[in-house]
């Protein structure tokens, strides 16, 4: 049995390149997460305001995001906009756009769910104490909703990180692509490098996502 590519992993700058690729993926997902959380909070609050038109629009938006694979959305934005509008979007910009578009819908739905899960007695009691509407929302409802929201939004972060692996399909050189390049470069010297490198990528994703999802599970249990 020949070596399975562990030597290739530590040859030259290979490992540092791999980490660089990982950082590209994580950076895209972190930027998208921040945008999604901010916009999702806003849209989620608007959703509970009870405007019928807003509700209908949001349902369609959410349904589109739920049904269309993120890969299709990526293709639509990256290849479609160039053709239709003549925009020359960079791959990373379109990836961030797509993931924020997707994340915002998911986040808004979480916010909506958290807000309507607060029993109406909370609203009524706060009003009975003579609070203004803004006070009711900021001092009573929001703190309770945020507690329910945090574990769920942490879960969204891991989903986002996992989904960013798709960006290699529109030509962004992230961790999987770097692994592929390293394997190609060492095809002669170490034909079995694919095992070690793809195995490493698998573990890298696990090492990043696992603690985050454990944290979410812990918080969910503790704050439930």
């Amino acid at each position: 049995m020949q070596s399975l590519g562990i030597d290739v992993l530590f040859k030259g700058k290979n490992f540092i390149r791999l980490m660089g690729g990982l950082w590209v993926a994580v950076r895209i997902s972190l930027i998208s997460v921040v945008i999604s959380i901010v916009l999702g909070l806003l849209i989620g609050m608007l959703m509970t305001s009870g405007n019928k038109i807003l509700k209908a629009v949001f349902r369609i938006y959410l349904e589109i995001v739920r049904i269309m694979p993120q890969m299709v959305l990526l293709f639509l934005v990256y290849f479609g906009t160039t053709r239709v509008f003549g925009w020359d979007l960079e791959a990373e910009t379109s990836a961030i756009f797509v993931f924020s578009f997707w994340g915002t819908a998911e986040m808004a739905d979480l916010v909506r769910g958290a807000l309507i899960s607060i029993p109406s007695i909370q609203y009524e009691s706060a009003r009975a104490l003579g609070m203004k509407e803004s006070q009711v929302f900021l001092l009573v409802i929001l703190p309770q909703a945020v507690r329910r929201l945090i574990p769920l939004s942490i879960n969204l972060i891991t989903r986002m990180i996992k989904t960013t692996s798709l960006v290699m399909m529109i030509g962004i050189v992230e961790v999987l692509k770097v692994a592929q390049q390293i394997i190609e470069a060492n095809r002669k010297a170490s034909p079995n490098a694919a095992f070690g490198l793809f195995g490493t990528v698998f573990l890298l994703y696990f090492i990043i996502c696992w603690p985050v999802s454990r944290l979410a599970a812990y918080l969910e249990k503790r704050w439930a």
Binding site: L4, R66, I67, P69, Q70, M71, V72, L166, L197, Y205
Partner: protein, 219 residues
Amino acid sequence: MNVEVMREYLPLYWRALLLTLKVGWIGVLLAFLFGLICAVTIHLGIPVLRRLFKIYIELFRNTPLLVQLFFMYFALPKIGIRISPEVCGSLGLGLLGGAYMAETFRSGLEGIPAIQEESAASLGMNRLQIFCYVILPQTISVSIPGILANVIFLLKETSVFSVISLMDLMFTAKDLIGMYAKTIECLTLLVIFYLIMLLPVSILGSWLERRVRYAEFGD
């Protein structure tokens, strides 16, 4: 937009849809099976298997399908395990889905009140009977919304199959764009075909969810 071109591409897309559906639904069935086996094993507390299945669930829930498929399709042959793209697609989807389904079933199992088990035991049922006739049917019925959400998620994930050169919808679209550069037509067809594939499941999902919620009122 050129409708003539789209009509010309239609057979290719149909073929791709059928393949995607075949590989996808086999994957979903496997996921259901794996999930059930894991959840039951963990619930019954079978010593070594329990530990193993928990590791499997954590591993597959915390890594992307794309990376899993790359590993199964490109890395495993290096240690002598070679599988065809279709088997790899179904199995990969099954393994990913199994981890998610297991969590769904597990929370379903936890939701069954202890009185159910105690009542069944007092009727003289043995452990196997209690599990098969009392606990399992209830678990599956309360898990239905979760299961359907997983099914939609899994069918969406089939879009990454193109990386293991399975000629699915994504692969067909990419291929045609590469050859004839009819980007708009190809992308429109892609969207339409994913709608054909996923809209019925999504509608069924929200209908069933409402039904399940009605069922709860009788409690």
